[in-house]
Amino acid sequence: MLSIKDLQAKVEDKDILKGLNIEVKPGEIHAIMGPNGSGKSTTGYVLSGREGYEVTGGSITLDGKDLLELEAEERAREGLFLAFQYPVEIPGVSNLEFLKASVDAVREHNGLEPYSTVDFMKLAREKCKSVNLDQAFLKRGVNEGFSGGEKKRNEILQMMLLEPKVCILDETDSGLDIDALQVVAEGVNALRSEERSFIVVTHYQRLLDYIVPDYVHVLADGKIVKSGGKELALELEEKGYGWIEEEVA
Amino acid sequence: MTDQVDAYLEKDYAAGFTTDVESETLPPGLNEDVIRFISQKKGEPEWLLDWRLKAFNVWKEMSDPNWAQVNYPEINFQDVSYYSAPKSMEDKPKSLDEVDPELLETYEKLGIPLHEQAALAGVAVDAVFDSVSVATTFREKLAEAGVIFMPISEAVHEHPELVKKYLGSVVPQKDNFYSALNCAVFSDGSFVYIPKGVRCPMELSTYFRINEAKTGQFERTLIVADEGSHVSYLEGCTAPMRDENQLHAAVVELVALDNAEIKYSTVQNWYPGDKDGNGGIYNFVTKRGVCHTNAKISWTQVETGSAVTWKYPSCVLKGDNSVGEFYSVALTNNFQQADTGTKMIHLGKNTKSTIISKGISAGKSDQSYRGLVRMNPGAEGARNFTQCDSLLIGDKCGAHTFPYVESKNPSAVIEHEATTSKVSDDQMFLCQQRGIDPEKAISMIVNGFCREVFKELPMEFAVEAGKLLEVSLEGSVG
């Protein structure tokens, strides 16, 4: 489904990714773990096509389609979703109009009719409820004045509405307390299916208690240095990242 | 606030004494002959005399600027004497031992001992007395590092190629009324050159003293930091207490070539006039620096003196990635007036500027921040942040903010904020209730207000600046 081969990328002349390989099949959950500065967030930005992140080698394909050829919005329409670590606030643009613009664009791409305003309102309200967000949030500016937890839930809400093929969760657990973490994890788990895959980027193992991965990859210095099953995450939690770096060296 | 505090009024301006030396002073008046006289006194080459005369002709066509938020009676430029020097300086003393002890004592009293063994460690001083430089310390030591630090009148002879190349290159003769006047009649000032890659081993400083009555001081400072060099420079200023107003119209030019850094600090304590607004210095100064690629110029000023201040230390950010900074504390009390601020002209890509201005108005004084931030079309990705805060002490003073923000580049980001506040009764009461006397409380609050700027001053002067503020605030509570 999502195939990342020998991906190399740089930011402001600094090489960050140095040959990343991950193969994600439908329905799988992959966790990418690694110390700070290993290139975790960059992976999410490069996959989603952020400007300023220059791919210098390798390939990314989604169901055989070359993502590197596409703009950020085109990748999103192909079914790639990045849940941000720090979702930006956009005062003046209401959450509702933002969500509708986004859902309309993706549906149009898939040859579907846009929702009517009324239907969309209904749908959005429903999804709000399922991630425990007050409906009032729909009227407010995008993420404007939201707490950390509310922003993360807004990300999951968008994920639910867009029904992507591949979801990348970029440190979705950072800054969340246990309760908020559970709400977010429940949202993610509700979206799990045979066709949908997840890449969970995280520094800590605790999120993986709730979103159980099939594979765990350790990212260090822009490369996957070790892969394993979910037990690898526990090992990392216990021993830290030092031993892996030693092992690799 | 409380009446008891009125009792604190009146502390003397500590630098207000006069030095009794015999001086050669030109009679008041300004014409070509005066300019020729000054030029001849300094034994200047022909080109410099021509340069002065050209400036004089430009000046005659200009008029006194009236846009600043200051009021003062029209200055009769024919009533000012444009040259005064102690007679003992006539023969150019070879060493400090030959300098008139009266003069040395003057600086001693001001806390600036000129004998190297007694001097502040790590600080070289050029002492300018009225129209001449009296002494420049540590010249030999600086010369070892290749640093040139000498009166500009000597630099004209010893390093003519440098002076000729850079004099007027940042502030042209016709820049403004007072700069043109300065170009015509400047008497002395300091010249600094830091060679490529050299980090100046000492703080450099110039101490300006006006002594003679009815004279103006028109000094000129030129600092050139060659590629990759670094220098920190400080100037201080005082004058005797006199009932008349005296004119000070200086020009400071800074050139920071690629990767160079100049830190320029000022503690300005010209005589501010008495509590009824009589006397004091008119301080009309043009200060500007040019930053080439990756260079940085930082202006830090603590302004407590002068009857009227008109001054805008500026940066022309010409080179890509260059940085300009302006940190200012200005305090006005009694009848003082100040219109001060900065200009940041962004020409190069990714240039950055920061402006932090803290104005404290007390008594019946009036103070304005006037600033310009300009993003030219080429200033791709440039940034400016400006914060102007005013603190009012008492209800008879004024505090004003006039920022000009101009942008012609969409990728440039400018943020400007200004606030005004007062020392609140609650704050005062809290301090008093904790046993702190009101004057001390005010000074604590004011110092806190200025902290962001004080931390930019060289260490030795930060303490002095705090004290100066305390003295200048005397009598402001009431």
């Binding site: 096509g49 952020r50 400007e51 703009e71 950020a72 919005e73 990748r75 999103a76 990045l82 941000f84 979702p87 930006v88 956009i90 005062p91 003046g92 643009v93 109009e97 933002f98 509708k100 613009a101 986004s102 309309d104 664009a105 791409h109 500016g141 968008q158 867009l162 | 846009w67 993003m375 079309p377 005013s390 009012l392 002490i393 008492g394 209800d395 008879k396 003073c397 004024g398 505090a399 004003h400 903010t401 006039f402 920022p403 000009y404 923000v405 101009e406 942008s407 012609k408 580049n409 969409p410 990728s411 980001v413 400018i414 943020e415 400007h416 904020e417 200004a418 606030t419 005004t420 007062k422």
Partner: protein
């Protein structure tokens, strides 16, 4: 005296109007003739050039063009759907009975200066010119010099006026260059509540008039006035306007200001807080494009204690347009316990657009809370990327973000029909492509 000033003065001298207005005209003319024609060195006109007056002969022939073609005008130009309005329509400064409402609410007196009698005449004599500062506004001097007509709108005491009074000014293209003038005097009597809309439109893109307007708002004790100033004329209009308000004790002025650009559009606002407890709320939006120019100068005077003001202006400059904003807060000695804030944010959409902003504070009292802020930036890259990562095209995201920049102020418009009118009109300033607008309109 500059040539332009003397030429205009000659025209003003020819104007005939009610005799009882002669003293105003003489005062205006004297001051106009003493005026120095502003240049780029005149601080108030530093960023706005008056070269349009050299390029066009606005004072050439008649000062007031005769109306006449107004029958052909469609009221679609200025209709505000859903608005229950009493409408006064002026075409190039001349009142058009045809296009105006035939009935006005009972609790409002609407009187033309030329027809004023008795108490109305007295009230005009008393208040006309009382809010405007002729010293600082030279075009207001000319407006006064040339005064032969005007309209008084007097809101009666203790009355709440439900009907909005809409004053429409239509600019048309004349056969040759000309000047159109307008003078409005609004008096909100004690404890009255009302809404006035000053609505400026034009018939076609190419204009050749100079419009010079002066509006005075007198808010007496406890009155409340919602004031809308919509300068929606397009392209190459030359418009100089002045709005001056006097606020007595506990009066509230809510002002919303909108400006599209023009060849030269310059509007001065002056709000005088003269009675304690007065409050002024001002929101403004300017959206120049192409090669347009717009200049707002606002001055909020706090002359007495215990007054508040809050001013928010936002501007978006597209193409090769240029905007000027100068916002001054002036706190007089003894105006203690004043609370005044001002914010001005700007978005530059193009490399050839330009903004000059100057937020000013002039403060002579210590126990006050005053702050101002100004920013200039472009659309935030982070926000653009976030929207793109959700499948929204870059173009639509840009339009949504531009509109979002002013949306807060548009949403803040309390007057439903006006908000409904403006929302699509403003959105279309950012794109003509309805596809890109569908999520914001």
């Amino acid at each position: 005296m500059s040539e332009i000033i003397s030429k205009a003065a000659e025209l003003a001298k020819k104007i005939e109007g009610p005799e009882w207005l002669n003293s105003f005209r003489t005062l205006g003319l004297t001051q106009w003739q003493q005026a120095k024609w502003p240049t780029r060195k005149t601080e108030h006109w530093k960023y706005s050039s008056l070269r349009a007056f050299n390029e066009n002969d606005f004072f050439a022939t008649q000062v007031h063009r005769q109306g006449g073609d107004e029958q052909k005008l469609s009221s679609e130009l200025f209709d505000i759907p859903g608005l229950n309005a009493s409408r006064l329509v002026f075409v190039d400064g001349i009142y058009s009975e045809e296009l105006s409402s035939d009935r006005y609410p009972l609790n409002v007196d609407i009187v033309f200066f030329s027809k004023a009698e008795g108490a109305h005449k007295e009230i005009i004599s008393e208040y006309l010119g009382s809010a405007i500062d002729l010293e600082k506004n030279i075009f207001a001097r000319f407006n006064t010099a040339d005064l032969n007509e005007g309209v008084l709108i007097q809101i009666k005491q203790d009355q709440k006026v439900d009907q909005t009074v809409q004053i429409v000014h239509v600019s048309t293209k004349g056969e040759s260059e000309f000047t159109a003038q307008q003078r409005v005097l609004v008096i909100a009597e004690r404890h009255s509540e009302s809404t006035i809309v000053e609505h400026f439109v034009s018939t076609e893109e190419i204009q050749n008039s100079f419009t010079n307007t002066a509006t005075e708002l007198i808010l007496k004790d406890g009155s409340s006035l919602n004031h809308y100033r919509l300068n929606m004329e397009q392209e190459n209009i030359v418009h100089v306007g002045n709005v001056s308000a006097n606020l007595r004790a506990n009066a509230t002025l809510n002002s919303f200001v909108l400006g599209f650009g023009g060849k030269l559009k310059r509007i001065d606002f002056k709000v005088n807080h003269l009675g304690s407890g007065a409050h002024c709320e001002m929101a403004g939006v300017y959206l120049p494009k192409n090669k347009q120019h717009i200049d707002y100068h606002t001055c909020i005077d706090h002359q007495v204690p215990h007054c508040t003001s809050n001013e928010v202006f936002r501007g978006i400059m597209a193409d090769e347009s240029k905007a000027v904003f100068n916002g001054r807060i002036h706190i007089y000695p003894d105006a203690q316990k004043t609370y005044a804030e001002m914010s001005n944010k700007n978005l530059l959409l193009s490399h050839k657009a330009e903004i000059n902003t100057k937020p000013e504070l002039e403060i002579y009292a210590d126990d006050v809370r005053c702050a101002h802020g100004a920013t200039v930036s472009q659309i935030e890259e982070k926000a653009l990327y976030y929207m793109q990562s959700r499948g929204i095209s870059k173009k639509e995201a840009e339009v949504m973000l531009s509109f979002g920049f002013i949306n807060e102020l548009i949403s803040g418009i309390k007057h439903g029909p006006i908000q409904n009118l403006l929302r699509p009109v403003l959105a279309r300033q950012f794109s003509r492509d309805e596809e890109l607008l569908k999520h914001i309109i």
